[in-house]
């Protein structure tokens, strides 16, 4: 059920215990739906960046940004301007390999998509793919015909393009 476009929100937060709980709890309590969330430290050790993708109309996103901004552990929040940011997601996909013919087909696909094979067994291959969610979806679709045994996706992480940054001091 799509009510709007997927938006990417970048949040700088205090790097300390409980902050993820606070933000996740806020989304639950305000009835906002997170599509994905990634968290990791920034160049400043006391600061983490959360990248949240969320599906909603303009009014919902406006409320999300304002409610998040109000949190005391949030240092900065900004909706990334469509077309003006880079984003990547990483996925690990374990693919079923029934025979050697299919093994070489899969390896061809891996080359075309510029993925990497990071583990091999007699009847499976584990592929690492990095890219936009669309690219990962496309690759996954191809792999479905062989059988996806296991899938782990990280959710996207993103930065604004060029000199434009989301920094505490800006």
């Amino acid at each position: 059920m799509e009510t709007g476009k997927t938006k990417v929100i970048s949040i700088l937060v205090e790097n300390k215990p409980g902050v993820l709980h606070t933000i996740a709890n806020l989304f639950r309590r305000r009835n906002f739906n997170i599509e994905s969330i990634t968290v990791g430290p920034t160049q400043e050790p006391d600061t983490s960046r959360m990248t949240i993708t969320i599906n909603g109309d303009e009014k919902t996103i406006d409320q999300v940004v304002k409610q998040v901004a109000k949190q005391i552990d949030v240092l900065k929040v900004s909706e990334l301007e469509p077309g003006h940011f880079v984003m990547r997601e990483l996925a690990l996909i374990k693919v079923n390999v029934p025979n050697s013919k299919e093994r070489s087909d899969i390896i061809n696909c891996v080359d075309v998509f510029r993925c990497r094979i990071i583990d091999v067994s007699t009847d499976s291959l584990t592929v690492e793919i990095t890219g936009t969610p669309d690219k990962i979806d496309a690759f996954l679709n191809l792999m479905k015909s062989y059988g996806v045994l296991e899938l782990a996706r990280t959710g996207i992480t993103a930065l604004a393009r060029g000199a434009k940054s989301i920094r505490i001091d800006e």
Binding site: V13, E14, G18, H21, T22, N25, L26, R29, K59, D62, Q63, K66, Q67, A69, K70, Q71, I72, D73, V74, L75
Partner: protein, 570 residues
């Protein structure tokens, strides 16, 4: 600043003294004992022993809302802390500054099974439980960080849009010893201070207001919080704009002022609800447009350009689409807006709009309708207003007692009408009255209660009597949970379920059992006499007032309807 070796408990109390805390409402228990041990013999901080932690939090809130300063409550870990939850939620919904202190089992120590995370006796993750209902929470892990933690907690609770802050104190941190440095420092990196009003917005708002034919001001609780009542009256006089309040804004504008319309809302004054629909400009100040105030959003001030002053940016466009938002303190904003508007506008004499306001009030205001002769809620509340000095404080419980008070009891000054607006917590009024009385010992404090609500915190009679905190409780006794019974009557075809209270206690005897004074009034004359007796009494008085069990609070906007669609003869 001075540096000294001391326990965490000592550091906590010195930090509270530094914040000029005079009183803590609390109940002790195992995990908070080191703090109580330090309180023993403390001359600066009075401890008031509540009889239930929920009431301790309500008492702290009553104190805060009467005084404008942070109220402090304290409880032990586990059930003590979880019992605070409703009180904390209430303070959060009504933006009241309270600081809640909870004991916690040790974060580290020799007995590793008695440690946070191991499900030890009376362990509860109170920070996890209260995340959604606190402005912030702290759990200091060292003695040394206590002074800064306390400074930060009071700063966060009382500034911007106020709210509750929790400090969870592991027992080993209370009893541990360290070199403690006291400081005035506040360090909350991510706290966004209230912004100054955007002058372009002020100018835009003043242009709209100066051209308005039918301006109306809606004042919310933010006006009271920011102390902007004088500015509000000036603004109203300049614009010749009638002022309606939200329920939380009651008292922000003197309700005996010719331009006062009373409260809007589900049980609002019909004059306010009606005129809101006729206004061409709405100046809303310090309000979050709650559903009980706005009713159906489609018919909320449909013809009005909307200017919204609020200190919380997240309230802008949350419920109501705004034309001109001003995100800043209400008092500062109103001052600037007045200055800008008075350059464009001469103070008006009567206009067609003020004539219309007068006419609508005469036609619709319940206060100007006939005065009943028998002791019904309306007569009682009008009589109460006559008996109480302007500065007296009235609290209410939740339900019919509350809505009758909103309709018929005129609040004339800010911080004199204290009620559970957002959360609607039955049992709030009596402990809030106790807290208000502690903050303002020289003023009369009266809780207008229902029998259903009063029973929920009646045990605080023990607190008020023992601690010599005399307040007056007026129990509108209809032996029924009146408001839900009214809904069952009006919306569920009179199918009454679980609303009859059966044999409610004899409230006169109940009061006497606690050592309080119990009186009963069955006529206006008896009521008058009872209130006079109560106000001069040195002990808490409960006045039992039997009323009919089928009396409705009318008018009433049924759920889903718009404000003008009020029903019921009144």
């Amino acid at each position: 600043m001075k540096m000294a070796k001391m326990t965490g408990a000592r550091a906590l109390l010195e930090s509270l003294e530094h914040q000029k805390v005079e009183v803590i409402f609390g109940i002790l228990g195992g995990a908070i004992l080191p703090v109580y041990d330090e309180l023993c013999g403390n001359k600066k901080i009075r401890h008031i022993l509540a009889r239930h932690e929920q009431c301790a939090a309500h008492e702290a809130e009553g104190y805060a809302r009467a005084s404008g300063r942070a109220g402090v409550c304290m409880a032990t870990s586990g059930p003590g802390a979880t019992n605070l939850v409703t009180g904390i939620a209430n303070a959060y919904m009504d933006s009241s500054p309270i600081v809640a202190l909870t004991g916690q089992i040790p974060a580290s120590g020799v007995n590793t099974s008695y440690m946070i995370g191991r499900d030890a006796f009376q362990e509860a993750d109170i920070i996890g439980i209260t995340t959604a209902i606190t402005k912030y929470s702290y759990q200091p892990r060292t003695v040394a960080e206590i002074p800064l933690t306390v400074n930060n907690a009071f700063y966060i609770a009382t500034t911007g849009r106020p709210g509750p802050v929790l400090i969870d104190l592991p027992k080993n941190v209370q009893s541990g010893t360290a070199d403690v440095e006291f400081t005035n420092k506040i360090d909350v990196r991510g706290y966004k201070l209230p912004t100054e009003p955007d002058l372009a917005r002020i100018s835009e708002a003043s242009s709209i207001l100066s051209k308005a034919q039918c301006p109306l001001i809606l004042a919310g609780g933010g006006v009271i919080t920011s102390g902007a009542s004088d500015e509000l009256v000036k603004m109203s006089d300049l614009l010749m704009a009638p002022v309606a309040t939200t329920f939380m804004g009651k008292g922000s504008f003197p309700e005996n002022h010719p331009l006062s319309l009373g409260s809007i809302g589900m049980h609002g004054n019909p004059a306010a609800n009606k005129l809101l629909g006729e206004a061409d400009v709405l100046l809303a100040v310090g309000t979050r447009f709650s559903d009980r105030a706005t009713a159906n959003l489609d018919s909320f001030a449909p013809n009005a350009k909307k200017i919204h002053i609020d200190i919380d940016n997240a309230e802008i466009n949350k419920n109501i689409e705004i034309d001109v938002p001003i995100v800043a303190d209400a008092k500062v904003s109103l001052k600037l807006l007045y200055a800008a508007t008075s350059q464009k506008l001469q103070k008006g004499e009567g206009t067609a709009w003020t004539k219309r306001v007068k006419e609508a009030k005469e036609q619709l205001s319940p206060l100007l309708k006939e005065l009943p002769k028998n002791l019904v809620p309306k007569a009682l509340l009008l009589e109460l207003r006559k008996l109480l000095p302007e500065s007296s404080i009235v609290t209410t419980e939740v339900g019919q007692n509350q809505m009758w008070s909103a309709l018929y009891f005129q609040a004339l000054k800010p911080r004199t009408f204290i009620s559970s607006g957002g959360l609607g917590t039955m049992g709030f009024g009596f402990p809030a009255a106790i807290g208000a009385k502690v903050a303002c010992p020289d003023r009369a404090v009266v809780d207008v209660a229902g029998d259903g609500s009063f029973i929920m915190s009646e045990q605080e009679l023990a607190c008020s009597v023992t601690e010599n905190i005399p307040v007056t409780v007026i129990v509108l006794n209809n032996s029924i949970l009146g408001m839900v019974a009214q809904w069952q009557r009006m919306l569920y075809k009179r199918r009454y379920m679980a609303v009859h209270l059966g044999k409610t206690p004899d409230f006169v005897k109940l009061a006497e059992a606690y050592g309080a004074q119990g009186l009963r009034a069955t006529s206006i004359e008896e009521f008058h006499k009872a209130v006079k007796t109560a106000l001069t009494s040195k002990v808490t008085t409960v006045i039992d007032v039997p009323i009919g069990s089928e009396t409705d609070v009318v008018p009433f906007v049924p759920p889903g309807c718009g404000l003008p669609q009020q029903i019921g003869d009144y």
